[in-house]
C-alpha cells in the first residue's frame, strides 16, 4: 500500500486511523496503532468514567503513549462534551499532540485555535452539508462516518457506502471513511468509493491493547451480522449490541414513550458494558461490522494484516 495524501498530511505510513472511542481508547492502544504505521487516537476519558477527573487523565494518557511510541498520535475531542472550555485542548497542545479529531459540534468553534498552535484537525461529518461546513471552517480533513458505526450516530442515517462518494465529490480536502469497516475488504471498498483513508473503531476494541473489559471484547467477536441495533431514533441515535437493555428501550420507543426516558435509561450504562463487561444490562456500543471481527489480536497485527490483505484484494480486482 502506497502513501495517500492523508498519510502526507498526518506524517503516517498507512492511511488507517483508530477511532478515539470514549472510555476505552487508551494510551497502549493508540501507541500500538501508531507504532505499526497507522494513527492511534486517545480518548480523554479512557479508563476514567468520572469526567471531573478527565484533565489529569488526559495528561497521563498522552505521557504514557509518548513513552511507548515516537510516532504521531492524536486525541479525540467530542465538542458537545468540552463545549467552549479549552482546558483539555491546552493540555493536549502542551503535551505535544499535533493531530486531533473532533465531532458532535461546530468545527468553527476550535479549529482556528488548533491551527494557531500547529495542530491538524480532522472533523467527523455525516452529510455533504456537514462536510462542506467543515471544509469552510478550515479543517484539514473530514471523517465521513456512516450509519454503520457504533455509538452515537447522525439522525440522517446515511450509510458509508453512499455518503463517502458524495462527500468526496463535494469537498477538496482528504476524506476518511468510517463506519462498517472491519477488514481489508472494507478498506478496499472505501478507497474504491474515493476515500483517502479509513477510521475503524470496533475492530480496534477487539485487540489485546484496548483497555475495554474482556466481556465486551468477547461480545464483539461473538456477534453475528444482525446483532447490532439502533436505538434512540428521534432523540440520540446509538448503535450497539442488541441486548436486554436495548430490548427494553425499544419497547418503550414502539409504544411512543418519551425520548428523555430512553436517554435516561442509557445514561451512565456505557461504563457498565465497556469497562465492567456487563454486555446484557449495559450500553455496549459497537458497529455493524462487528460480525466481521473474528478474533482478538494485537492492534499492530490489525494494521499489518489489513495492509497485506488490502494489496492482495486490489491485485485481484
Amino acid at each position: 500500500m502506497k502513501k495517500t495524501r492523508l498519510c502526507e498530511l498526518l506524517g503516517i505510513e498507512y492511511p488507517i486511523i483508530q477511532g478515539g472511542m470514549g472510555l476505552i481508547a487508551g494510551a497502549e492502544l493508540a501507541a500500538a496503532v501508531s507504532e505499526a504505521g497507522g494513527l492511534g487516537i486517545i480518548s480523554p476519558n479512557a479508563g476514567e468514567p468520572d469526567w471531573g477527573r478527565v484533565a489529569d487523565n488526559l495528561r497521563n494518557l498522552i505521557r504514557r503513549a509518548k513513552s511507548l511510541t515516537k510516532k504521531p498520535f492524536g486525541v479525540n475531542f467530542p465538542i458537545h462534551m468540552i463545549g467552549d472550555d479549552r482546558q483539555l485542548i491546552d493540555i493536549a497542545v502542551e503535551e505535544g499532540v499535533r493531530i486531533v479529531t473532533t465531532g458532535a459540534g461546530s468545527p468553527a468553534l476550535h479549529t482556528p485555535y488548533f491551527h494557531q498552535r500547529g495542530v491538524k484537525v480532522l472533523h467527523l461529518v455525516a452529510t455533504v452539508k456537514h462536510a462542506l461546513g467543515a471544509e469552510k471552517a478550515g479543517v484539514d480533513a473530514v471523517i465521513a462516518e456512516g450509519y454503520e458505526s457504533g455509538g452515537i450516530n447522525s439522525r440522517d442515517e446515511l450509510t458509508t457506502f453512499v455518503m463517502v462518494p458524495q462527500v468526496v465529490d463535494a469537498v477538496g480536502i482528504p476524506v476518511v471513511a468510517a463506519g462498517g469497516i472491519c477488514d481489508a475488504r472494507g478498506m478496499a471498498a472505501a478507497m474504491a468509493l474515493g476515500a483517502d483513508g479509513v477510521q475503524m473503531g470496533t475492530r480496534f476494541v477487539a485487540t489485546t491493547e484496548c483497555l475495554a473489559h474482556q466481556g465486551y471484547k468477547d461480545a464483539i467477536v461473538a456477534a453475528g451480522d444482525t446483532d447490532t441495533v439502533i436505538t434512540g431514533r428521534g432523540s440520540m441515535l446509538v448503535r450497539g449490541l442488541r441486548n436486554a437493555l436495548t430490548d427494553r428501550v425499544m419497547e418503550k420507543e414502539k409504544a411512543g414513550g418519551s425520548d428523555e426516558e430512553a436517554i435516561r435509561m442509557f445514561s451512565e450504562l456505557s461504563e457498565a458494558a465497556l469497562l465492567r463487561g456487563d454486555v446484557e444490562g449495559g450500553r455496549a456500543a459497537y458497529g455493524a461490522g462487528a460480525g466481521l471481527v473474528r478474533g482478538i489480536v494485537s492492534a499492530g497485527d490489525v494494521v499489518r494484516g489489513m495492509v497485506a490483505e488490502y494489496d492482495r484484494i486490489v491485485a485481484g480486482l
Binding site: 442515517e157 446515511l158 450509510t159 472491519c182 478496499a188 414502539k254 484484494i313 486490489v314 491485485a315
Partner: protein, 315 residues
C-alpha cells in the same frame, strides 16, 4: 453463469421495470429484468401483462432476460408457468421462502437468484438450491429487510457465509460502487434507482427528475414497524413518519397507505402523495441517460478506479 457479458443486473422494480428498459440493459451486455406488473393498471391481469412484456422484450433483444417474482403474491404459480413458457433465462425472486418454487424453475432450466438481507436468509437460499443470492442492503429503494444491514457490512458477511455467487445491491450508482462491491467480495451488482433515471424506463419524467434532483439526504426509511421502506422524502413519507412517531398501529398505517400507493408515485407521477420508492444512491444520480449508457459507464468507471487502486499498491 448467467451468460452475460457484464456482471450488472437491472433491478426488477415494481410497476416500472418494463420491456424496453430490460431489453436495453441486456443489449448492452448486462441483465435486464422485467417486473410482471410493469405499466399495468391495478385491475389488469398480471399474467397477461407479464406475457406481453416478455414478448416485447424478446422482440428487442436476443440476449438473456430476467423476470422478478415476488414469492408471496397470490397467483405466483401462474406467473412462473408464463416465465417458463416464454423462455426466460433468469428469475430473481424476493420476499418469500425460496424453498417453494426454486425447484420448479430450475427443472425448467432457469437460473434462480434470490434476494436476501441477512446471513440467515442467504444460507437458507443456498440450502434450497438457488444459483446466486442478491445481497440487498439498507440503501436500496422499496421494501427493505427488518435487520437494516447496509451493503458495506451485508456483502462481506454473506460472501463469507455462502459458496454460491453473491450479487451486491443497494446504494450502487456508478463505477465506484461497482468496484467497492467487488472489493467486498461480490461477483456482480444489481442497480434499481440508477436505471429508473433512463430514457427507456416507463416511469414518468417527473419521477426521473425527482431522482436527479435528490441529494444525499433525499431518501428516508418509513414504516419501520410495518415493513421498512425507502423512498424519496415527500409529503407521503412525512405523514407516515408522523404516524410512526405517535405509535400508529400496523392497521392504521396500512389503512393510510392503501392499495396502489407506490403505483401512484411511480407510474402516475404523483411524487408528493405517492410512495416514491428510491434508493439512497439517488443523490449520486445527476442525469437521465440511455440504459445502455449506464451499463457502459459502470464498466468504464470500474476499469478506471481499479487502475487507480492498483497504482496505489506496492509492486
Amino acid at each position: 453463469m448467467l451468460s452475460i457479458e457484464h456482471p450488472v443486473i437491472q433491478g426488477g422494480m415494481t410497476w416500472i421495470a418494463n420491456a424496453e428498459l430490460a431489453a436495453a440493459v441486456s443489449e448492452a451486455g448486462g441483465l435486464g429484468v422485467i417486473s410482471p406488473n410493469a405499466g399495468m393498471r391495478l385491475e389488469d391481469d398480471m399474467v397477461q401483462n407479464l406475457r406481453g412484456q416478455i414478448r416485447r422484450a424478446k422482440g428487442l433483444t436476443d440476449k438473456p432476460l430476467g423476470v422478478n417474482l415476488v414469492v408471496f403474491i397470490p397467483g405466483i404459480e401462474e406467473l412462473i408457468e408464463v416465465v417458463i413458457e416464454e423462455g426466460i433465462e433468469v428469475v430473481v425472486t424476493s420476499a418469500g421462502d425460496p424453498a417453494r418454487h426454486t425447484g420448479r424453475m430450475k427443472q425448467a432450466g432457469i437460473a434462480v437468484l434470490h434476494l436476501v438481507s441477512s446471513v440467515k436468509q442467504a444460507r437458507h437460499a443456498e440450502g434450497v438450491g438457488v444459483d446466486a443470492v442478491v445481497a440487498e442492503g439498507f440503501e436500496a429503494g422499496g421494501h427493505n429487510g427488518f435487520d437494516e444491514l447496509p451493503t458495506m457490512v451485508l456483502v462481506p458477511h454473506v460472501a463469507d457465509a455462502v459458496g454460491i455467487p453473491v450479487i451486491a445491491a443497494g446504494g450502487i450508482a456508478d463505477g465506484r460502487g461497482l468496484a467497492a462491491a467487488f472489493a467486498l467480495g461480490a461477483e456482480g451488482v444489481q442497480l434499481g434507482t440508477r436505471f429508473v433515471a433512463t430514457r427507456e424506463c416507463i416511469a414518468p419524467q417527473n419521477v426521473k427528475d425527482a431522482i436527479v434532483a435528490a441529494n444525499d439526504t433525499g431518501t428516508a426509511i418509513t414504516a419501520r414497524n410495518l415493513s421498512p421502506t425507502r423512498g424519496l422524502t415527500n409529503g407521503f413519507s412525512a405523514q407516515v413518519a408522523e404516524m410512526d412517531k405517535h405509535g400508529a398501529t400496523a392497521d392504521e398505517l396500512l389503512a393510510f397507505i392503501g392499495v396502489g400507493r407506490a403505483r401512484m408515485a411511480l407510474l402516475e407521477g404523483r411524487v408528493e402523495e405517492g410512495e416514491a420508492y428510491a434508493g439512497a444512491a439517488a443523490g449520486m444520480i445527476g442525469d437521465i441517460v440511455g440504459a445502455g449508457d449506464v451499463v457502459n459507464q459502470l464498466i468504464e468507471g470500474y476499469d478506471r478506479i481499479v487502475a487507480q487502486l492498483k497504482e496505489g499498491v506496492s509492486n
